[in-house]
């Protein structure tokens, strides 16, 4: 590859020592390789690191009870997000029958509900309480995406539900 041929030095007369002159040329191929490698690296890293955004559409607040959305009791699943990454869930509209789960197992509960209810009736109500974190809310909204749930709403828990959560937390010793 490299041109390392040595040109014959001219004769400099008798008695003059012949000094071998090396070519000054260097093989630049590895340098080119390195250059393009870096270019490729920079191009990839600049375009890939873009944050994604999750679209969130909230309903308009309405004071008119007639405009409130009616949900079939048989098709509703309420998920209450509590302290310490715990989810309390119940079917229909009886909060006293609530059960406890975590973020890893909630997918199964949602899927089971989805399978056992007609698609038009299915409605998931998400109620993050005061101790839930933003991550909890995003995770559960993400879960709606993952499980392809068409209808869901995010609302505040009622005072009764909140008390119930508090009692459960006290009993369970959740900090």
């Amino acid at each position: 590859m490299a041109e390392m041929e040595v040109k014959e030095s001219k004769k400099k007369g008798p008695g003059v020592k012949k000094s071998k002159k090396h070519s000054t040329r260097v093989d630049l191929t590895p340098m080119v390789d390195l250059g393009f490698l870096l270019i490729t690296f920079f191009i990839f890293t600049t375009t890939v690191q873009q944050p994604t955004a999750m679209p969130l559409n909230m309903p308009k607040d309405t004071k008119d009870p007639n405009l409130d959305m009616k949900v079939k009791e048989s098709g509703s699943l309420t998920l209450m997000l509590g302290k310490g990454n715990v989810i309390y869930y119940y079917y229909g509209n009886d909060p006293t029958k609530m059960q406890t789960t975590g973020y890893k197992d909630v997918r199964k509960i949602i899927l089971d509900k989805k399978k056992s209810t007609p698609a038009t009736d299915l409605f998931i109500i998400i109620k993050p309480d005061k101790d839930a974190t933003y991550k909890n809310a995003v995770d559960i909204l993400d879960e709606m995406d993952i499980n392809d749930i068409g209808k869901y709403a995010m609302v505040d828990p009622t005072p009764d539900e909140y008390n119930l959560i508090q009692q459960t937390e006290k009993a369970g010793g959740v900090q």
């Binding site: 340098m31 955004a53 991550k135 995003v138």
Partner: protein
């Protein structure tokens, strides 16, 4: 007859011009790359399966830090108009100096009564006291974030702004709700939550849906 001698050229090519080009391009890309200024407020957003890229134009970005403080920044292109509108809404007057300061300021992290002093700070000073900044009040009684949003909305009347919300993992839900309420006060119901992307879990409904969509194409 003697055959014409074919001169055997050397197979080695001079790499110097190619090397020059490579490094020229490298230098160009490094210099041309827009370096993102390091965020003064460190936030680690949660992850979601969404693959929509967060809009980078005409945006209003509400950042919620992990100690539940709210900060606001926006597209530099709309800052001038927003300040005009804000002045009109709050009866504050802003000098040309204030406007220039605001343009240079990265984000807003103080209540309105400290606003002018805040934008006069240099970026280094802001960085030094980033942890002590009080944030924009979002209480139901004194929701200044709503005022800011209303000013931004008025500044870009008829055009759609992209409303980004970037919260830390540890943000408590009530703060997030207060931010949503500030938007709702201005009749804005569509937001983009900035998240890190993560892969769709294999075998889930969305995964199947995506696969179906791809096979149809």
């Amino acid at each position: 007859m003697a055959r014409a001698k074919i001169k055997r050229g050397s197979t080695s090519v001079d790499m110097t011009p190619m090397c020059d080009v490579a490094f020229l391009l490298l230098t160009f890309f490094i210099l041309a790359a827009k370096f993102k200024p390091p965020d003064a407020i460190q936030v680690s957003p949660p992850s979601s399966v969404s693959n929509k890229v967060a809009p980078q134009k005409d945006y209003i970005n509400v950042t919620i830090s992990k100690d539940n403080k709210v900060f606001l920044d926006m597209d530099p292109g709309i800052k001038d108009d927003v300040l005009d509108e804000l002045g009109a809404e709050t009866n504050m007057t802003f000098s040309a100096q204030d406007k220039a300061n605001f343009k240079d300021a990265g984000f807003i992290g103080v209540p309105l009564n400290q606003f002018k002093q805040f934008i006069a700070l240099t970026p280094d000073e802001v960085k030094a006291r980033a942890m002590q900044l009080p944030g924009i009040p979002v209480d139901s009684t004194n929701n200044q974030l709503a005022t800011w949003i209303s000013a931004a909305q008025a500044a870009r009347l008829g055009q759609t702004l992209n409303y980004l919300i970037k919260g830390d993992d540890a943000v408590k839900y009530p703060t997030f709700k207060a931010v949503i309420d500030a938007f709702k006060k201005n009749d804005i119901y569509k937001y983009n939550l900035v998240t890190n992307s993560k892969a769709v879990p294999e075998g889930s409904e969305l995964y199947k849906k995506n696969m179906m969509g791809e096979s149809k194409k």
